[in-house]
Symmetry: C2
Subunit: 455 residues, 2 copies
């Protein structure tokens, strides 16, 4: 066993629980799931039908059920919630932080949203949720929770502790206590450690740090993640343009953001257009993959038309056809390498952007080196293998050109995409590979025409 107190999920337990559900053996369900972490129950329920899962959730206490639902993957949660009445969903949302509640509401069909919000009996929670619904999901406002502990700078430590006590049920994890002015402007923070160590009668204004890092409501989630990573923050306060404290973002949400961004990038690089997973339906998987395959296919057909122009050349020197895969593959490989290096740079934005000229000079130098080595080896191999000298020259010169062009394309494309606010990871996907294929063929046949006097 590698972790302590992590719920051990066994096939036997799943079978036994299925039996308990079938026999309506509530005692078994309650007694075996008591104290189990909601995240583990979420994983467990993936093994059961949505109806059976609903049966289990109805038996568990409301707080646990809410956490279990909260821990489910988005697409699975949508299926689960179809079995729930609006009032039932509202009761669960009461148990969650406002940010999680809003995420769930945003996933509901439009017609259910109002009904669920109307069913919320906790007025404050409903207001918080309505407030958060105004923000896009991928900005700080869409990530933040309204639940936090804030105190006035004129309060004493004792008053702070009372405020924490008052809010203790609403705010599950407290990292910092935020200090605000009379007009709710964020002016600092006090760590829990400092509060514990301070005398009860000391005033907050003597304790707080005023160099608090905060983010604005409309900051992009990518930038929020970068700030929390850079400054090693476990939570960050969110302020509006007037500097008023609106909420806080905790690191667990940012870990999810980072994980999702990495997945998204992987999918773009692989040419998959939707967020699909292996256990999605055949139909969804096909739909996510076909668009890019079709783009690649049209690229290939265009390539065929293009080579068709040179049909006579191929009849004269059929060996020219042999090296088509070498030319296209090299272009593809070089292009993906180049754009992936730019992607890396864009992800860890430096303060002063490298000048375009400096960047390109280096790209060209690396391309020259790579090109010389590849073209050189191929030249040698072709001569050793007894290939015609002119053809060997054509192939190597074309390869050298392809490496150079693919390096430039692979570097410039993500930069342009990024400038226009498009995810630059597309540049490492099939679209660019296809474009590189065509360019490679163009170079190859052009060089051939130049070197073969009889073509």
């Amino acid at each position: 066993m590698e972790t302590i107190n992590q719920f051990e999920l066994s096939r036997e337990y799943v079978d036994r629980l299925q039996q308990a559900i079938d026999e309506h053996d509530k005692r078994f369900i309650v007694s075996t799931l008591q104290g189990v972490n909601p995240a583990d129950i979420s994983t467990l329920l993936l093994e059961f039908s949505t109806e059976d899962s609903k049966y289990v959730l109805d038996i568990l206490d409301n707080e646990t059920s809410a956490e279990v639902i909260n821990d489910l993957d988005e697409d699975i949660r949508a299926k689960f919630l179809k079995n729930f009445e609006s009032a039932e969903i509202a009761t669960m949302l009461n148990e969650l932080d406002s940010d999680d509640a809003v995420d769930i509401i945003n996933e509901l069909p439009l017609k259910d949203r109002e009904e669920v919000i109307a069913s919320l009996d906790n007025r404050e929670k409903a207001d918080n949720i309505l407030d958060l619904l105004r923000y896009e999901e991928d900005v700080a406002g869409g990530l933040m929770a309204k639940e936090l502990i804030k105190v006035n700078e004129n309060w004493s430590v004792k008053q702070c502790i009372e405020e924490i006590r008052r809010q203790a049920e609403n705010v599950e994890k407290i990292y910092s206590v935020y200090v605000v002015s009379d007009t709710n402007k964020l002016i600092g923070r006090v760590s829990l450690k400092r509060i514990i160590l301070a005398d009860d009668h000391i005033q907050v204004k003597e304790l707080y740090e005023d160099d608090v890092i905060a983010v604005e409501t409309y900051m992009d989630e990518v930038d929020v993640a970068e700030i929390m990573r850079k400054y090693d923050l476990e939570s960050v306060p969110v302020v509006n343009v007037q500097g008023k404290l609106m909420g806080r973002i905790t690191i667990d949400d940012i870990v999810d953001v980072i994980t999702e961004l990495a997945e998204e990038e992987r999918q773009m690089m692989a040419g998959i257009s939707e967020d699909v997973e292996e256990d999605d339906s055949v139909w969804m998987l096909t739909r996510a993959r076909l668009p890019w395959l079709i783009i690649g296919m049209f690229g290939g057909l265009l390539g065929a038309q293009f080579i068709g122009v040179f049909e006579k050349d191929i009849l004269l020197v059929p060996a020219m056809a042999f090296f088509i895969p070498l030319i296209t593959a090299t272009g593809g490989n070089v292009g993906i390498q180049s754009s992936s290096i730019v992607l890396q740079s864009l992800a860890s934005k430096s303060v002063f952007d490298n000048s375009f000229v400096k960047r390109m000079t280096k790209v060209i130098l690396v391309a020259l080196l790579n090109g010389i080595v590849i073209a050189g080896i191929v030249m040698g191999m072709n001569l050793i293998l007894g290939q015609d000298l002119t053809l060997a020259l054509v192939v190597s010169i074309a390869l050298f050109g392809v490496v150079l062009i693919a390096s430039l394309m692979g570097t410039i494309t993500p930069l342009i995409l990024d400038r226009f606010g498009i995810n630059p990871a597309i540049a490492s996907g099939p679209f660019i590979t296809t474009a590189n294929d065509l360019l490679g063929l163009l170079v190859y046949f052009s060089v051939a025409h130049l070197l073969y006097s009889n073509l």
Copy 2:
């Protein structure tokens, strides 16, 4: 301005600071950098030579300098530290948590390590570091810090607070207080919130939660990251096989692990063999890229040899050469899509692995659908464009076969790599694309031989 209190780095300030360094204007340096976050100073120093940076760091107080060095990227830090004496490094390490200190020591040349450790005058810190040096860098033991607050279950809340006070300087961020038995076995945790809200005389044993999630020293960092993500933990205690509390891992280190893993995967998918960034030297960039380009090149040369076998066919039906890029590109695209979907699954390991048969059935179904659509469109296009019927049939049948084979290859390869403990992301890189190219050509020319009676 999007964030509050984030240091604004301007070209003007950099120039002004350079001037201050040249003129040895210590007053300007201290007064403008006072209170600036060390992470920002790290970014700032990237604009200066290592000698000038050392000059600035020597002026700043020791704690700030240590944090600045700690926030630097590994490769830049190595350059910086060359200008420091062992004793100077030791003084800085005294200011850091043991995990960060060990990371820095591990990056030093072997001969400097012992000297630095010997120069540590804080005995406890030295012991902690020696203890941590025993672990590999990519397991829980290599990530954990020894600094933490632990209390005995028989203590009162008041004693807890005294322990926190005693350790306050060593443990910068306290998330939880760990509860141990008389033999140092981890038995639970108490959140700071609970301690604040509890009466001074209550005993720890009445307060603590015993369902604490812990990890073992030898757990892989990937698994630690997954556990902290799953359970939304901001810190996790590390125990040895006997269950004794050895240290704790905080979420900021795990955020770094997640970011690095994503970068590593991107590099593997792009065929880059070392951890390079755009601002590395031309030589390093070339060295990281050439190996995969050469593999792809040999694949291409092999492909040329292979097509060479069919030289006569091409002379008879030169149009066959036109579709070579379509065949190889489709194989590449399908293969990368398939392996990327498997990568995603492997990253979010489910409890019960899908059975191999079930997984393959789905892969084949998706491949059949994709293959039919692609082959169908190409068939139609070729007929519209007036291509020979036999050739159109050869191309479409070959495409269908290629989609099927590339799907299977793309799915099985990462699974096999993962089974053998090799990073499965390689399967999305150039190696597999090259293999798919060759397989595609084999299928294409085989189908041609079957359908053309005169070949």
